[in-house]
Every structure is written in C-alpha cells, then in structure tokens.
C-alpha cells in the first residue's frame, strides 16, 4: 500500500525519461558517432590514392610538426590572439555600454546587434569585398579625401582578413558580455566606490570580475573559431593567408587526406574543450553562458 505512491512518482519520472529518447538517439548516432569517428580517423593511415586504410599510425599527429604545418599553426594562433584581443577591445565596451542603456533602448539595440548576426555571413563578407577591392569604396573614399594618393589594394591582405574576422566574431563577444553585464548587481560597484575605490579600480576589481563569465564565453566563441573560419581567409585573403581551417578544408576537399584533417580537427576540438574546462574552473559554472 505504502509503496504505491513511490511507484507513481517513479512512473512520472519514467515518462519524463521517455522525452529524452529522441535527443539521446540523435546525439548518440549523429554526434557521438561522428566525433568518435573523427578521433579514430585521426589515428588511421591514408590510402595511396583515395580513402582510408585501417592501420594505426601516429603519422597524422607527427605531420603537424612538419615546418609547413607548424608555421600554419603558429600563424593561426597569432591571428587568433590578435583577433581575440581586438574583439575584446571593441566588443567589451560595446556590450557594457549596451547593458547600461536605459531599458527602453536596450531591446532595440540588442535587436540591431542580433540581426546581422543571423543574416547571411556571405552577404556581409561580400560587402567587405566591395569596400576593400582595389579602386573599391575605401580607396575611392580615401582618395577623395586626399588621405591617400593611390589605391591601397587592401583586398587579399592580412588586414582585410583581420577586419573580416573581427566583423564575423564581434557579435558573439558583444552578446556574451551584454548578458553578463546586464545580470550584474550594481550595488557591488557602489559598495566598492563607497569603500574608496576609484571608478577605474572599481571597474577592474569588481565589474570585470563579475562579468568574467561573459567575457570568457566571448573568448571561447572567438578564439578557436577564428582559426577555423577558412572562408574568410579564403575570400578576403586570397590564397595568401592559410589558417588551420584552410588546411583542413584543403586536406578534405583537394588532397583527400582525411586522417590528417581529422587530426587537425581533434587538435582544434581539444583547444575548445580546454577553454571550456578553464571556463568551468574559473567561473565555477557548469554551463557556458548562452549566446542565444
């Protein structure tokens, strides 16, 4: 008699567990499967012409240390640091100011930031081509102002890639910082000011600490992706700038060395995982703050 209710509770829980079915199924078959296969693939050998041989090897990981790829890695990481730093510099104040706007403005500005974020990345990229192209809008503008005597020919240069990257990744930083700043308890800052901290000191000791989760989410969403956004390097950088993302794409689509592409992907995933791990360690939060 007494156990009937316990059973009822268990039944209610059981019914809820059924809800997890589709997600479990999909995740196991179409995510765990591919990710595991990626890891397996990274230890397999490449066939002479096409495809994969089921032979264990460390070649793919050792190949990363070949000078060409090592320098690509180095270049990618340098670019990632540069882009991330610039994205923080430009995005943190933006997110911060946005969260400090009067409530009635916050919603519309948030919308304005989100819209380009969800619209075609190609279209935005194409706009930059028009701007950067030799004798394009930027050149014409600068020459009209007599700031520059001849076309700068910025398209297919490093700065063009950096600008394109910043542009593509900035919204992630803005939105993560925004959500963190918006949640902040401002009485803490007031307390710090009250205790004698100047505005700058209060910012670094209190505000920055409180918004660290948002900042770090932004970094997670910026750093590794900036090494992987191959099409920006492709389109704005011509063939001159190669990132890990470009190498992966080439290995997949042109060279057909899938195991090597898999090894590179594993490295990138490890970097992402490491950053998420650091995030959890530092913020003590289990979730990476949503950008949605």
């Amino acid at each position: 008699m007494k156990n009937k209710n316990v059973r009822l509770l268990r039944r209610e829980r059981g019914a809820n567990a059924v809800l997890l079915g589709p997600m479990y199924l999909f995740t196991v078959i179409f995510l765990v499967g591919p990710f595991v296969y990626m890891i397996v693939l990274s230890f397999l050998s490449r066939a002479e012409t096409w495809g994969v041989v089921n032979e264990f090897t460390l070649r793919n990981y050792l190949k990363i240390f070949e000078p060409t790829y090592l320098s690509t890695f180095w270049e990618s990481i340098k670019l990632a640091f540069l882009v991330t730093a610039l994205v923080i510099l430009a995005g943190y104040p933006f997110g911060y100011f946005m969260a400090k706007l009067p409530a009635k403005w916050r919603g519309p500005v948030l919308m304005l930031v989100t819209i380009p974020f969800w619209t075609s990345s190609l279209m935005r990229l194409y706009g930059w081509i028009v701007i950067f192209r030799a004798n394009g809008l930027l050149d014409k503008f600068l020459m009209a102002l007599r700031l520059s005597g001849e076309p700068l020919k910025l398209l297919y240069t490093y700065p063009a890639v950096v600008v394109g990257m910043i542009y593509a990744l900035l919204p992630f930083m803005i939105l993560s910082v925004y959500s963190s700043v918006e949640k902040m308890d401002w009485t803490l800052v007031e307390a710090a000011r009250d205790l004698g901290a100047g505005p700058v000191k209060a910012f670094f000791t209190v505000t920055l600490k409180c918004t660290m989760p948002g900042l770090m989410t932004g970094v997670i969403l910026t750093f590794v992706p900036s090494m992987a956004l191959f099409f920006i390097a492709d389109i704005l950088g011509g063939n001159k700038i190669a990132l890990i993302g470009n190498v992966i794409q080439d290995q997949l689509m042109k060279v057909h060395d899938w195991p090597f592409a898999a090894a590179l992907s594993v490295i990138l995933m490890l970097m992402t995982t490491l950053m998420i791990f650091l995030y959890r360690k530092i913020t003590g939060s289990k979730d990476v703050e949503g950008i949605v």
């Binding site: 100011f97 919308m111 990138l268």
Partner: protein, 262 residues
C-alpha cells in the same frame, strides 16, 4: 552624479554603423544598373528580374526552404523534448548528453562539416537532402534546446502544481499550462534554427553532394568564381527574409516572457 553618456552613445552608434555598412553596400549595389559593382550607373531592378528568371537559383531556393523547414522542425521536436527531459527526468548521464547535444554550437563549423562528411561516408549514407537535414538538425538542436531550457528554468513550478491541484492530470496540465508557456521559446528557437540553416555554407558545402544545391552554397561558389550583381539582389532578399524571422522570433520571445526585467 548623472552625466549624459555621450561617449558610450557615440560608441554604440558608430559600432552599429560599422556593422551595417557592408550590408547596406550590398543592398545599394543590388539596384545598380552597372555590372561592375564599383561603378554606380543608376537605379535598376534588372538584377532582381534576372534573379527570378534563373532556374538554378529557383531550385536552390526551394532546396534551402525544404532544408530549413525540415531541420528546424526536427530540431524543435528533439530539442524541446530533450530540454524538458533534462529538466525533469532523473536519468543517469543526462547532463553529459545535454552537453554533447549543445556541443555543435561551440564547435567550429568546419569541424562539424568534416566529421559529418567522414561519418556519412563511413556509414554509407548517400549525400544529398538526407545528409543536409541531419547535419542542419544537429547544429540547430542547441538553439531550441537552450531557448526551451531557459524558459523552463524561468517557469515557476507552482503553475503546473496549481493545475494538478485544480484537478488536471499530468498530461492535461502539461498541455494546458507548461506547453503554452514555453511555446514562445520553442518557436523562437525554431525560427533561429531556420535562419541558421538558410545561412549555412560551411557544413552544407561538405555534406551537400553533387545533386542538391542550397542557396548559400550557390552564392559561395559565385563569390569564389566571379560575381554577378544577381548575388547582390539575392543577398538583399535573403537579408529581409532573415530579418522577418528574427523579428518574429524576438516578438515571440517578448510575448510569453512573464519575467519582468529589473
């Protein structure tokens, strides 16, 4: 103490202008008479006319719509059920499963593309609409999942308890109370998924195969080979389509949101 925040306002406005600059340029040039995009030759709608005549674009559009519709629908069902299950069921490993399910959001798209390419080859799934739908569903689930989970977290459990207390059974109280209250989250997640799918190039390039083309893939190919201003026109149209989706999604987000902002 209260100063006029001039600097921050200027900063925000300049930032927004920069964000919209490339978009506006593309839009403007879509009405350009000239074929060369750096020369303005007068207003014209001819690229729109040509766009509508182009069969390749038409079929790509249909493909993209089917793809976006199916993948956002699947993502909505799987993501919603998953979010409710994660919040309410006690099952071992649900945390790690939820983490893996949201992983595509944090994974660089090229890696998603590569693992799907490799995996689908491995299991022998023919590339085409099926593989597109599966991969797009995969990267869409996190958006629905996170939206619904946020809704559920903000939902006072006493609503459903009150319904039970008033005589509604488990299912009834779910459909009468919980579902309507999380519905805006589901729909908004779905719309975002649709927008993501309509915009995706990277994953699609890898899993699309030879027979099926989606709009972004067509645009990408054109950008790499040589652009006709038709692409400007197409991008402009897509921008407004996405704009409507995002606005709808935001509107829905606001309607059902019972939490008052501080």
């Amino acid at each position: 103490m209260k100063r006029k925040p001039v600097f921050s306002t200027v900063y925000l406005i300049l930032g927004l202008l920069m964000m919209y600059l490339p978009i506006v340029i593309v839009m403007v040039y879509s009405f350009n008479q000239s074929k060369i995009s750096s020369v303005w030759d007068g207003f014209s709608l001819k690229w729109y006319a040509e766009l509508f005549k182009d069969r390749a674009f038409g079929s790509a559009l249909v493909n993209s719509l089917i793809l976006g519709g199916l993948s956002s629908l699947f993502a909505a069902v799987i993501g919603t059920m998953g979010a409710i299950g994660t919040a309410r069921a006690s099952l071992r490993g649900k945390g790690i499963m939820a983490y893996i399910a949201t992983l595509p959001m944090l994974t660089p798209e090229i890696i998603l593309g590569m693992i799907f390419l490799a995996y689908f080859s491995l299991i022998g799934l023919p590339f085409g609409m099926t593989t597109l739908v599966i991969s797009h569903t995969a990267f869409s689930i996190p958006y629905v999942f996170m939206q619904v989970r946020a809704r559920l977290a903000g939902l006072d459990p006493s609503f459903e308890e009150a319904a039970r207390d008033l005589g509604a059974g488990r299912a009834r109280s779910f459909f009468d109370i919980t579902l309507p209250l999380i519905l805006p989250g589901i729909v908004s997640g779905m719309l975002l998924s649709f927008a993501m799918s309509m915009d995706d190039v990277i994953v699609s390039v890898f899993v699309t195969g030879v027979k099926v083309n989606t709009l972004p893939v067509v645009i990408y190919t054109q950008l790499k080979t040589g652009v006709t201003p038709k692409v400007n026109a197409l991008c402009t149209l897509m921008f407004f389509a996405t704009l409507i989706l995002v606005l709808l999604s935001a509107l829905l987000g606001r309607i059902g949101n019972t939490k008052k902002s501080k």
